[in-house]
């Protein structure tokens, strides 16, 4: 029996202590008509050797293509120490640190994480993680509604330059509570929020505005002007940011005159592998004045009976296990282990290393765009400041081109046909510090050949 240590003698003696004739008798309170006799639909047990072989075969089937897709999940170098330490049993197999005295390791690490994230985003307080980037945008919108003392409209401005899936998650998550997400279009020439379109909301009761920086197209928004525009109208600003980029980009706490009110984003770039989309983690930071409106766990530093410093979960009266139906969120389990990895990652790269990663990623993307610019039938969709992603337009439909490239072992980017059909054949591409000049050359060659093949077909 895998993972069950009992000997026959154990079972006999334990049943005797209970006073039950058989294990089966322990289930005698279940109405008999509901009982099943086994789970024959589940395959037979595999030994570790057998499952190891099966999983290795499945993994091999998927291969390791050269990947230029970004769109919210980014391939970065992950120091070996990050996961060597994160998967130590003391982190990996511990529970939520409710018993503070027996969880000081996790608690102190969360406090360090909160300190790093607050500084990185230019805010005062951070929670201990949410599920992912998408759900953190939804939680920020709900938090804005709670924290905003004047606006009662539940209307949130949601530009189309925000990740399409984040927008969808927000509607799924917050729509049932009556929040309405008002679309703000982007300007076709810049790929940034259309400032002129914002005028339509002048004088209306709007609770918050979401601004993603860099935006979904990789473009840098004019965050100072947008933030000031919103604040002048009593609108909260929810910043959605890439944490890597913040090593070189202005933190949301410094946007405009007053800074953003709530900052969220996808933490995956900080030491978390791509892993088919998860587990990642969402982060959320804000100003101290809104701390009681925050969702999720928060750790504080305090003193013990003897006056020594220690760490504990605090402000728990906001949370579901105490406040139940009136909690700030229903979130309980978060993404603790990924937050652990991110804290170790940020420590290992440090401020200099993170800036180098950001600069190198931006530079590789520029190099990539230069190389693709030399491929016939390819042009840049939007010019202007960007981080490490960009939209390119092709003169042929994207899907068959990507299929051709895939055959050459290159994943050429994300086809935008589904979410942005108005762009025509368009591809969102990304390069990070992990890409070499040779990789970029291989991409350009594969794209050129693919376009040629599609044209010929």
């Amino acid at each position: 029996m895998p993972f069950v240590p009992h000997t026959e003698a154990d079972v006999r003696e334990m049943l005797a202590a209970i006073g039950a004739p058989t294990i089966e008798a322990l289930f005698d309170e279940i109405p008999p008509q509901l009982r099943i006799q086994g789970l024959e639909g589940i395959p037979t047990a595999l030994s570790e050797m057998e499952i190891g072989r099966l999983m290795s075969e499945r993994a091999r089937q998927d291969g390791r293509p050269l990947c230029f897709i970004g769109a919210g999940a980014y391939e970065h170098h992950i120091p070996s120490a990050v996961w060597a330490i994160t998967t130590r049993g003391e982190f990996y197999s511990a529970y939520t640190p409710y018993q503070a005295e027996a969880s000081q390791g996790t608690l102190q690490l969360i406090y360090e994480y909160q300190s790093m994230m607050a500084s990185l985003t230019g805010m005062e307080v951070s929670n201990a993680s949410l599920y992912d980037g998408g759900s953190s945008v939804a939680e920020a919108a709900l938090m804005a509604v709670r924290a905003h003392r004047k606006s009662r409209s539940l209307r949130i401005l949601m530009p189309t330059t925000v990740h399409p899936n984040y927008r969808k998650v927000s509607i799924t998550t917050a729509g049932n509570q009556g929040l309405r997400f008002e679309t703000v279009p982007y300007a076709r020439d810049t790929g940034c929020i259309d400032a002129a379109a914002l005028a339509a909301f002048d004088g209306e009761d709007i609770t918050a505005m979401v601004i993603q920086q860099p935006n979904f197209f990789g473009r840098l928004e004019d965050v100072d002007a947008l933030t000031d525009w919103a604040h002048a109208r009593g609108i909260f600003v929810i910043a959605v940011v890439n944490p890597t980029s913040l090593a070189i980009l202005k933190p949301p706490g410094e946007w405009g005159t007053k800074g953003a009110d709530i900052v969220v984003g996808e933490g995956q770039p900080l030491g978390v592998p791509l892993s088919s989309g998860g587990p990642y983690f969402g982060f959320l930071t804000t100003r101290m004045e809104y701390v009681r409106s925050m969702p999720g766990r928060i750790v504080g530093r305090t003193l013990d009976l003897e006056g020594r410093e220690g760490f504990t979960l605090t402000l728990q009266a906001r949370e579901q296990h105490i406040r139940r139906g009136k909690a700030t969120s229903n979130i309980c389990t978060n993404q603790g282990l990924l937050m652990t990895a991110a804290t170790i990652y940020m420590t290992l790269v440090g401020p200099v290393g993170l800036a180098r990663v950001a600069e190198a990623s931006a530079a590789r993307t520029s190099e990539l765009l230069a190389a693709l610019g030399r491929v016939p039938g390819v042009r840049l969709a939007f010019d202007g400041p960007r981080f490490h992603e960009a939209v390119i337009c092709l003169d042929r439909p994207v899907a068959p081109v990507l299929r051709q490239m895939e055959a050459a072992g290159v994943l050429g980017g994300l086809d935008l046909a589904g979410d942005y059909p108005e762009l025509g054949p368009a591809l969102l591409v990304c390069a990070t510090e992990t890409k070499t000049s040779a990789d970029i050359e291989r991409f350009a060659t594969a794209l050129g050949s693919a376009l040629k093949a599609v044209r010929a077909a």
């Binding site: 009681r292 605090t314 728990q316 009266a317 906001r318 105490i322 406040r323 009136k326």
Partner: protein, 131 residues
């Protein structure tokens, strides 16, 4: 045994009301309530000018183990909230009928207090609840 001053009126949800000479009232939470909550760490008070119906959740008192809504015992308009509670929520633990008051309210109906419990009835209620 909880203190229940005889000159106040009470709500079943453990708030007290003090009639002031100028026709306004002061509202707070009872000794029983503050004791059940334990050390308070945060109090959220209503903004001046807010109009309340009887039974409206108008304030939140938070300890490390619980956060409870405070319900307005009467209808009226908030004139003033106790600003000292922002930095010193422990005033409620120390002096819930005095320095730990929550808000001053202009009642919508001067006769509304008559519907509230006198001290003796509130004491009976506490006894019935085992407190």
């Amino acid at each position: 045994m909880s203190q229940v001053p005889s000159d106040l009126k009470y709500a079943k949800s453990h708030e007290w009301v003090r009639a002031l000479p100028d026709g306004t009232v002061e509202i707070g939470i009872t000794d029983h309530a503050q004791h059940a909550l334990g050390d308070l760490v945060f109090v959220e008070v209503p903004e001046a000018g807010r109009s309340l119906q009887a039974g409206d959740a108008c304030a939140v008192v938070e300890s490390v183990k619980a956060a409870s809504d405070v319900y307005s015992p009467i209808a009226g308009t908030v004139l003033e909230a106790n600003a000292a509670l922002a930095s010193a929520p422990e005033l409620i633990n120390q002096d819930c009928y005095g320095k730990g008051w929550l808000m001053r309210v202009q009642p919508a109906d001067a006769g509304a207090l008559a519907a509230l419990l006198p001290a003796a009835d509130y004491q009976t209620l506490l006894a019935a609840e085992g407190g």
